[in-house]
């Protein structure tokens, strides 16, 4: 399997993020804590074929979010996202 098959965009986690944030998140703007670039969540790089979901900055490839779900719980690491802006 080629890497291009593994990398998806943020629309791939629209449903997962709705479970967590209870609102549509693909239009939210995320600021990368590494390079400072701002991307719509729908346009970030997403890796789903992993023990958890890994979201990376399309500009610098740093991890923006890690989301693990198991045993009825979520674990969400947002240290790579300096700011998440979304409409009410």
């Amino acid at each position: 399997m080629r890497q291009s098959d593994l990398k998806l965009d943020g629309n791939a986690i629209a449903g997962l993020l709705r479970e967590i944030f209870t609102m549509e998140m693909t239009n939210a703007e995320s600021t990368c804590a590494g390079c400072g670039k701002v991307h719509a969540v729908g346009r970030v790089d997403v890796y789903l074929n992993a023990p958890g979901v890994v979201v990376r900055c399309p500009a610098c490839e740093q991890v923006l979010m890690r989301i693990v779900r198991g045993r009825g719980r979520y674990w969400i690491d947002l240290t790579g996202t300096r700011c998440l802006e979304f409409k009410e």
């Binding site: 074929n49 045993r71 674990w75």
Partner: protein
């Protein structure tokens, strides 16, 4: 048994493979590619492997030096926390025991670090005793980059996220330091026979 339907997962514990498959796992024949990021591609001329941290002096091997270390071919079963297991996989590599020969350290913990930024933590005891390798061949062929080539850690008695792909070194530490998955929900040790998948298992 040549073929096990996914529909029978975990039910036939009396089969030959049953006693080799940890709870909650099913056997696959293919080799799924798991990836938490882009596949790093480092030329062998720029590759090295290091032991750093709690030792008198850090040790580093170039690719050629690393390949001159005594290696061995082993057949092992591997278990991914995403619930697939693959039996009788053949790997060639240098045992971590060999790499740590002559290393004086009081460290109880280790962190494997990798190209691409991935890390995973293990007790040093899980790396010693010829149960962990730095593997560079799979099935007699150079390890494919998608599966962690040029070299990956192989620790088959723990879930496969501990077998870090694209490994470049091991840091020996006095303190345990949770890695990429261990710091965000996944179990600190990851013993598949105890189903240590998540925090609290």
């Amino acid at each position: 048994m040549a073929f096990i339907s996914r529909g029978f997962r975990g039910k036939r514990r009396d089969t030959a493979s049953g006693s080799r498959v940890p709870p909650g796992q099913h056997v696959v024949d293919d080799f799924p590619v798991l990836s938490a990021g882009p596949t790093p591609r480092v030329p062998l001329s720029e590759w090295s492997f290091s032991i750093v941290g709690e030792l008198d002096e850090p040790k580093t091997w170039t690719w050629d030096e690393f390949r001159r270390l005594p290696s061995e071919t082993v057949s092992v079963d591997i278990h991914c926390v995403t619930k697939w297991s693959k039996l009788d996989t053949s790997w060639t590599g240098v045992s971590v025991e060999t790499i740590l020969e002559g290393v004086e350290t009081a460290a109880d913990y280790a962190v494997a670090y990798c190209d691409g930024g991935y890390t995973t933590n293990l007790p040093v005891d899980d790396l010693r005793g010829r149960q962990a390798w730095i593997a560079f061949e799979y099935d007699g062929q150079p390890l494919d980059p998608e599966h962690g080539g040029p070299a990956r850690l192989l620790v088959p008695h723990l879930y496969l996220w501990k077998s870090a792909k694209w490994v470049r070194g091991i840091s020996l530490q006095a303190e345990d330091e949770p890695g990429f998955w261990e710091s965000n929900g996944y179990h600190n040790r990851g013993d598949p026979w105890r189903e240590q998948r998540y925090w609290g298992d």
